[in-house]
Subunit: 348 residues, 2 copies
């Protein structure tokens, strides 16, 4: 268990000097944002302004789905992979899965009276950020493994489902699933309507995502790929269960993404979307597909409606990926300029 492994599970970069308060940009709740967009029924991407990103997407899909085009792609090869944190939903001020871990500590505390005097749990229960940071990586790993393992897969599914149905974001004050990106939902649907098979390929936990991604994104469970822990099958008392062990199995970030794509999907994508350097290896993998392909970086530029961050960021660093995107002509979407709505609530 090391920093890299830890980050792959809960996503907290150790370069974050604060903890709960390391986001330096301004946010507003979704309800405060303007509702100046009008959905046009014939437009598959109504939340996208008619700018570079939208034009590039429409042109690409039209071309590769046209049997007369030299760039035509047959349906089995229409594989699209989406990062999740920062690409399909927000990821500030911390990866949402880490808020889940903190909430789990609080929920589990009544059965662990010893935590009142035991770090790192004590710090979490006392909201003592300074003390928690002193616990370092070891303490944080302990938090994540304690809250993410030691139960069965069925139990963990229920826990995640209950949390995602009730927990609210500390700043936006809405459920986490309200913080998915409306333009990306439209993009997923548009690709699906054009016979693309859409996958999530995320550094987040696969079992943290699957309970809700099908309903929220319309992506089936078996098309969700993420980091995972090792498991153990048991058949005690004639009842089969799978236990979640406190040991990382797949670290689905950076170079782990192309390997996970190969493992789960078995062919190179022709369309990939991401938002950080953690997606760069996935983009290079997609870019190496001899079929015409598309790489889309979401650039977080909207400090009012969402958050603004890129090169120096404690989460979702967009630095090397940005340079390579510019050098190679990949599509970089400026959220502030190109999206007339960020969250679904703005469309209601």
């Amino acid at each position: 268990m090391n920093a890299r492994i830890f980050r792959s599970i809960i996503g907290l970069s150790v370069s974050c000097p604060f903890f709960f308060s390391c986001n330096k940009t301004t946010q507003t709740s979704p309800s405060e944002t303007s509702k100046d967009s009008v959905a046009v029924t014939t437009d598959p991407l109504p939340s996208w302004n008619d700018r570079e990103g939208k034009k590039a997407i429409l042109t690409y899909v039209k071309e590769v789905t046209d049997p007369k085009s030299s760039s035509f792609i047959t349906i089995p090869d229409r594989i699209a992979t989406f990062d999740n944190d920062g690409t399909l939903w927000s990821e500030q001020p911390l990866y949402f899965q880490f808020f889940f871990a903190l909430d789990r500590v609080k929920a589990m505390a009544p059965k662990h009276p010893e935590w009142k005097n035991k770090q790192p749990f004590k710090a979490v229960l006392e909201h003592n950020t300074e003390e928690l940071m002193k616990q370092g990586e070891k303490g944080l790993v302990q938090l994540v493994m304690t809250t993410h393992a030691g139960n069965t897969t069925d139990e963990f599914d229920s826990i995640v489902t209950q949390w995602i149905d009730t927990a609210k974001h500390p700043i936006k004050k809405v459920k986490y699933t309200e913080l998915v990106f409306q333009p990306m939902l439209e993009l997923i649907q548009y690709l699906q309507a054009n016979d693309f098979k859409t996958f999530i390929v995320s550094g987040g936990g696969i079992e943290f995502m699957r309970p809700w991604t099908e309903g929220v994104y319309g992506i089936p469970k078996d098309q969700v790929v993420g980091s995972s822990v090792k498991t153990q099958y048991d058949y005690n008392n004639g009842k089969p269960i799978i236990k979640r062990l406190a040991e990382l199995d797949l670290n689905d970030d950076k170079e782990g993404k192309p390997m996970a794509i190969h493992r789960y999907i078995g062919r190179k994508p022709v369309f990939s979307a991401g938002n950080s350097d953690g997606d760069l290896q996935m983009f290079r993998w997609t870019d190496s597909n001899p079929l015409k392909n598309f790489k889309l970086y979401v650039h977080h530029t909207d400090s009012i409606r969402e958050w603004a961050y890129d090169r120096p960021s404690h989460i979702g660093t967009f630095d090397k990926g940005w340079d390579e995107a510019k050098a190679k002509g990949w599509t970089v979407v400026d959220m502030k300029e190109e999206w007339n709505a960020i969250y679904p609530l703005e469309k209601k």
Copy 2:
């Protein structure tokens, strides 16, 4: 690397006292079999006789796809998992993947002149079964890893594709893909037509199957689950590749099957098909699904058209699974009695 791991890759049971000749039953080539079946266009399973197995399948599918039924299953939960060796295609006298390994040794030999004097390769090149068996598991593992690893995923894909397109079964004298089971092809299509999502969950190598299973079974690559080796991502010279390492990652047999189903699919199947004790844990997993579910064992009873084997068998042992199937009322299909055609060639 141990016997269990080894068997998961190449499937040779160490209880086989012979090697190339451990099958004790009689076989004929597909062309010698009778063609007395007449396909009825309205019958989704024309190669199945109107016996217990077929009736049970039709009744089950009709019931769980009827919205008025109390056993109705919504489409996302219609997950069907199929074992491959012995369930979708034959597996005698050795798992076909092991013939691939032997052929690879011969194909690679010109670049390895040292193999002429080095075991276990020498024994393979000299067709010396007795000597090969003396090499034991260590030698066999060496054979498999030498022929299955050390290349890139793209290279391995090409090698498998070329082999499957050209190699012929030593007894049946037809391509291996001609030895898939016509009734099971019909079953897959029937389930797909009823909005079941069909998966392969096999102890065979995932990368050995994916190059051809899509075309042969109509099951997409990302719905093929199998044993796998560890991989390594590399980006030398700006070209991303994934290398196949000589180390097992996933052993998709026995208790590995429910764990692989959970990892790849993320929900319990409602329909599972298999043929050996290696599928028992998958069946128990399916059986524990609160939704109405179906377990189908293919029983190899036809020594004329295919092979006959069950309890004492060097491959595809059907012993504990048979007992449990009888005790729990799972469906056991008698190939000889219930299938009027075994291979697609019989229908042409």
